[in-house]
Amino acid sequence: MKGSQSQATGLFIFLRQLQQYWRILSQDKPALISFWILVLFIGVAVTAPWLPLADPKEFTMVQYARPGTQYWMGTDNLSRDLFSRVIWGGRLGLLVAVVSAGIASVLGVVVGGLAGYYGGWVDDVLSRVIDIFLMIPTFFLALLIIALFGSSIFLIMVVIGLTTWPRPARIMRSQVLTLKSRTFVKATRVSGASNYQILFRHIIPNGIPPVITTGTLLMGSAILIEAGLSFLGLGDPSTTSWGRMIQLGQRHIRIAPWMSVFPGVAMLVMVTSFNLLGDALNRALQPQLQERKRGHGWSRRSPLKVQEMGKLPRAISSRVLTPTPRPYWRSAIFRCITAWKTLGCEPWTAFHSRLKGAGVWGWSVSPAVARAASR
């Protein structure tokens, strides 16, 4: 039963985090817009086979048709409908983005997690490896591998994943370094959890949010890398990809500029959306990066405002960094349940220790849960 309980807790944390993300998003206009754009793209891409679209590989017998009511984005040199090709290209782009960013994130989390958790020589070696791979130009390595091993879309995705992992690894490592000295980790250690359990059940789930935002950014760059490879003629010839469409469009740019314009616009919108979204999440997760909401109010003549004089940066940052949890009845119940599920103690013990007025809230609960529950 214990497994299903901890799964339920995991789901609980996940849902709470989603809610938190949503709250952040709804305050940031560009990020919100890009979120809906991505939802649209993903929706269209997933349902593409069932949408009333022309087959992207079918010949309509009208070459170089201008964009118009019949062919929304025109047709290409082989008389294929460009609108449907752009959508199918988006399908491939999203697949590449998800798979390669997924590979990179998982690899990065494992390597970074191990480096941060074990420290010592393990950390020395792994950090050096991460540093070295950060310095190697990613695109070239991908290019070299694809040029040598042939271009299948599967290989392209794997290679992009394997060449972009150091960024999430670095972030995970620093996350683990800060998390492993926290009280809740000590509590799990005392209650007899193994290293594996501590690292993969407790530390990594709590350190994952910044990796997710990096993953969002990696998705954008994965799309760009795949498109770049395809443009150089290293794309998978059996797929409909934006990069290959632009490559084809380059040859016909004088007759049919729309062949290269539309796939590029679609790619630009998608990658920009991924990047804006990732940036917004990043800002939200690292309050120390968040600047003051209002401007500095510097007109050429405006004198220094009185209230600005006394503000010490440290006072500001410390207030932003450590939000004090509000004592709230419902959250107390949440804490008891989560303490029960993650730590395996009886719920009333946790509750009781709260009533006794222990300095910490009941048991020391993992911060992701605490943060979620205090809202």
Binding site: M135, L143, G228, L232, I253, M267, G295, H296, L304, L312
Partner: protein, 322 residues
């Protein structure tokens, strides 16, 4: 002196990077499908002849010996011969490096200046609509597929408007004389540089904005404002100067991006540099050439990061020499 020690140590740290690049190359070469000797002796060779060729190229020796031989050759600057041009790879790369350095260097500098200036200006207005708009533009800048941008610039400025030439580095049978040729080259340089600048200034803008903003929140800026220095003086003399370090380090990081971008840009504009060379090598399946270019570019990027760290150390006395 500590600085000298630091420099030496950083150079030593560079060695493993180069080593890893070369080893990765070697592993890839050996893991690649197909037997190398098939290229030399044909599909259904005489086994004796094949064995002879194996022996001649050292392929019959154990792998670690082959690796050592390969390392030795690379460190002597011997990157093998190109299949296509039948000349040493290192020679071909040296010939083609010039145009790439011109292209990447010019665009890196222009993008750096534009991005830093815009970022500084925007940082005063942090949080306003202008700031949000400029930030979105910056993100768009580095989300641009650079080859597509180049294509669009060609479409607009050379096909429709015919202001700039679309491809090449100079006009064949072009103008005579030093100044005429220089102008002609600059004319050809305009579009590729514009492409790389538009695709590159966003990163500088972001970094400049963030770091200037951080400095603006410091006490000494408040003091300077309280004393009554004017805005420009504070921004340039105090804020930008203290914020310049992350921007400098960005310059080093961006070199790698610029070189990558150069492959795509040079392909679009038929610019006769390293990137175009890589593209030609891909088309001709010229493995030694691709690998040589990869090694050279990796070393260039590593050197750039070393140089950045050194500039960093000289600029900022607070940097710890570790």
């Amino acid at each position: 002196m500590r600085l000298t020690q630091y420099v030496l140590r950083r150079i030593l740290q560079l060695a493993p990077v180069v080593l890893v690049v070369v080893i990765v190359n070697f592993v890839l070469m050996h893991a690649a499908p197909g037997d190398v000797t098939h290229i030399l002796v044909g599909e259904n060779p005489d086994p004796e002849y094949q064995a002879l060729m194996r022996q001649r190229f050292g392929l019959d020796r154990p792998v670690h010996e082959q690796l050592l031989v390969y390392l030795g050759r690379v460190f002597r600057g011997d990157l093998g011969d190109s299949y296509l041009m039948r000349r040493p790879v290192i020679q071909i790369i040296a010939e083609r490096a010039g145009p790439t350095v011109i292209l990447a260097g010019t665009s890196l500098l222009i993008a750096g200046v534009i991005g830093t200036l815009l970022g500084t200006l925007v940082s005063i207005r942090a949080g306003t609509t202008v700031d949000v708009a400029v930030s979105v533009v910056a993100v768009t800048s580095y989300s641009l597929p650079i080859f597509w941008l180049g294509l669009m610039l060609i479409l607009a400025f050379s096909i429709y408007l015919s202001w700039f030439p679309a491809t090449g580095m100079m006009t064949i049978m072009g103008p005579e004389g030093y100044w005429g040729q220089l102008l002609d080259r600059l004319h050809h340089l305009a579009l590729p540089v514009a492409t790389l600048v538009i695709g590159g200034f966003g990163q500088y803008l972001r970094v400049a904005r963030t770091s200037v903003l951080q400095v603006l929140n410091e006490d000494f800026i408040t003091t300077a404002r309280a004393i009554g220095f004017n805005r420009t003086a504070i921004l340039v003399r105090h804020a930008l100067r203290n914020a310049s370090l992350p921007i400098v380090s960005m310059l080093g990081l961006q070199l790698g991006v610029a070189l990558t971008g150069a492959v795509l840009t040079e392909t679009v504009f038929a610019w006769p540099g390293l990137g175009r060379l890589v593209y030609e090598a891909i088309l001709g399946r010229d493995t030694p050439l691709i690998m040589g270019a990869y090694i050279v570019m990796s070393i260039l990027v590593a050197l750039a990061s070393l140089l950045t760290d050194l500039v960093y150390a000289i600029l900022d006395p607070r940097v710890e020499y570790r």
